[in-house]
């Protein structure tokens, strides 16, 4: 390593620090007492260091208020959506990638066209449909629209296509049926792709804002992302800045932890989601 390398890293630490400041500030504010924040947000080092320190905001968050319930809703919706997307995407992706049947190309093209339709182009008709069925204010109403988006099918299709043919042929000679090949041979091989798809879906479900805003009108069915939006409008008066910031930290915790543990998969998932849908 030469000197210019160290200068480069040193030079980059400055923008990196600036990049990190907003997040650090949120965490720091969440640990400061509300009465103090009402007067000033810059008590120690512009407020970037939580002195005076208090965990009260978090305690209050879990004792009163709806944040724990919203958190649970987010968890149910995100896990439910992830499982549903995995189920329909692996099966359809396998069939389209490895099996021969009539109308295969038209079906692939039909699915490809679905990638062009943005959420904003269908959220009004979906709203009227779900209203007719009495579906609003439920977990499945938040889950189902995303399960129909064919990104997952194409991710799995590409993965299954890349697996060599002879694995299947060996099993066919032994007289194993197609469904068993899918279940016992292909699915275990597909674990990395499924992981990527699962993370992509979970992040989407956790962070989605527009559809929950339209579909969940009762506060008991808010996701944490939607709930946070509903309290940030009048944060200063009602709840206290520290508590709102604590809600923000709680809302971000699962996705940040997921990112720090599975960084490689998260990066791959988000770029795949970005480039394909």
């Amino acid at each position: 390593m030469n000197r210019s390398y160290y200068w480069l890293i040193l030079g980059l630490s400055v923008p990196a620090f600036i990049w990190l400041v907003p997040t650090v500030w949120m965490v720091s504010l969440s640990f400061q007492p509300n009465e103090l924040l009402a007067r000033t947000t810059s008590s120690t080092a512009l407020g970037l260091i939580p002195i005076p320190f208090t965990p009260d905001n978090y305690i209050a968050l879990f004792r009163f208020g709806q944040v724990p319930m919203w958190f649970l809703n987010s968890l149910i919706v995100s896990v439910g959506m992830t499982l549903a997307v995995l189920a329909v995407s692996t099966t359809a992706g396998y069939a389209l990638a490895r099996l021969e049947f009539p109308l295969k190309t038209p079906i692939i093209i039909l699915c490809l066209m679905g990638l062009m339709v943005p959420e904003q182009a269908v959220f009004i008709p979906l709203y009227t449909m779900f209203a007719d069925w009495g579906w609003h204010n439920s977990h499945h109403a938040l889950i189902m629209p995303r399960v129909a988006v064919p990104i997952g099918v194409f991710l799995m299709l590409q993965f299954f296509k890349a697996i060599p043919k002879d694995i299947e042929e060996a099993a066919r000679i032994d007289g194993v049926g197609w469904l068993q090949i899918f279940w016992y041979v292909m699915l275990p091989l597909a674990r990395p792709a499924m992981m990527t798809l699962a993370i992509l879906t979970f992040l989407y479900a956790w962070n989605d804002y527009l559809w929950p805003l339209v579909s969940a009108q009762q506060r008991e069915y808010f996701t944490i992302t939607l709930g946070l939006a509903s309290i940030q409008a009048n944060f200063a008066q009602a709840e206290g800045l520290g508590r709102v910031m604590a809600s923000g930290v709680v809302a971000s915790l699962p996705v940040v932890v997921l990112f720090l543990i599975f960084q490689r998969y998260v990066v791959r998932a988000m770029t795949a989601g970005g480039t394909k849908g």
Binding site: S4, P22, W25, M26, F101, C111, W178
Partner: protein, 365 residues
Amino acid sequence: MPQHQGARLVLSQGQAAAILLLPFLTIYAVFLVYPFFKGVWISLHDWNLMAVAFNPDAKAYVGLSNYERVMWGSNITWGAWASPAFQFIGLAGVVASAWLYRTGRAGKVTALAMGGAALLLFVLPGFHPGEGGRWYDRRFWPTVGNTILFVGLAVPGVTITAMLLAAALDGETRAKAVLRTLFFLSQVLSVTVVTLIWQIMFSPRQGLIANLTQLFGGSPIVWLTAEGFAMASIVIATIWWSLGIAMILFLAGIQDISKDLYEAGALDNATGAKAFWYITLPNLKRTITLVVVLQIILHFQVFGQSHLMTNGGPNDTTQVLVRYIYQTAFRDSELGRASAMAVFLFVIMGGFSILQFVLGREKDQ
């Protein structure tokens, strides 16, 4: 035929495929294909959300009049200098894409797409109400203009920052990996967390930026409610939020460039900034196009930043298309008109999606 396992063996490929495809295709048909066509159908009706909720027959077929009421007006004329700023950029874009194509700096598809978009930018803002005329919907086109302005600021901002960072952070060392993680981190946050953070960052009374300006003796700016600064604020928050994916795509693009080129360049004294300009940049053309198209698709759908940080204000300067659709549908209950706007959005997004698909195909070959 043996009973114990024969029952499953007789499934033909076609039957197995049908079983495996059925769950997805059913959901796809019910929750995406049908709603899409229903959306088009709603856009052809005078459809009030409340009225139809109580009485399903309270809608009336009106043909294309929703589109007319949204996009057209009385006595509309066209002029080459009706909206000089947009039209000049459009005209410059047409010339630039023709020049890029002639000099071989851009491929056929890229040049055509760029030229087409620029031509639209020249033609569309030229329409304006003539004497005594007016738009039927005064807010629609300004809203589209704001959305384009937002895209026009956020996309270059993200692309240039991400490209420079990627060029600097390409490499296998520990320190660079940590820095990459830092810059990517904000990408996983939800739009409500991002707007929460930046709303308070920009707050003139409590905000970190205001505190900083006061520390240096300046007077704080009312970022989110000042007409000149509101759009800038949501663009800054957006760049902070969505830099990560672009950076990763650029990193992948840079890693595809042959190391021999840099070694050859080093012999000619091309290192650092020179190497970036003469080697990295020309070889990243395809990645740049891909990132730009992707970002356009992503940021054209902007909603949360405007809805939560500025409420579309001040004076409608940050009102964007999706927020206008949302309000028309769910605040004004005008589902028909909102659906017409949604179809308009779909047409634009669809165009860019096809472009993205074609570009992706080119890359594979």
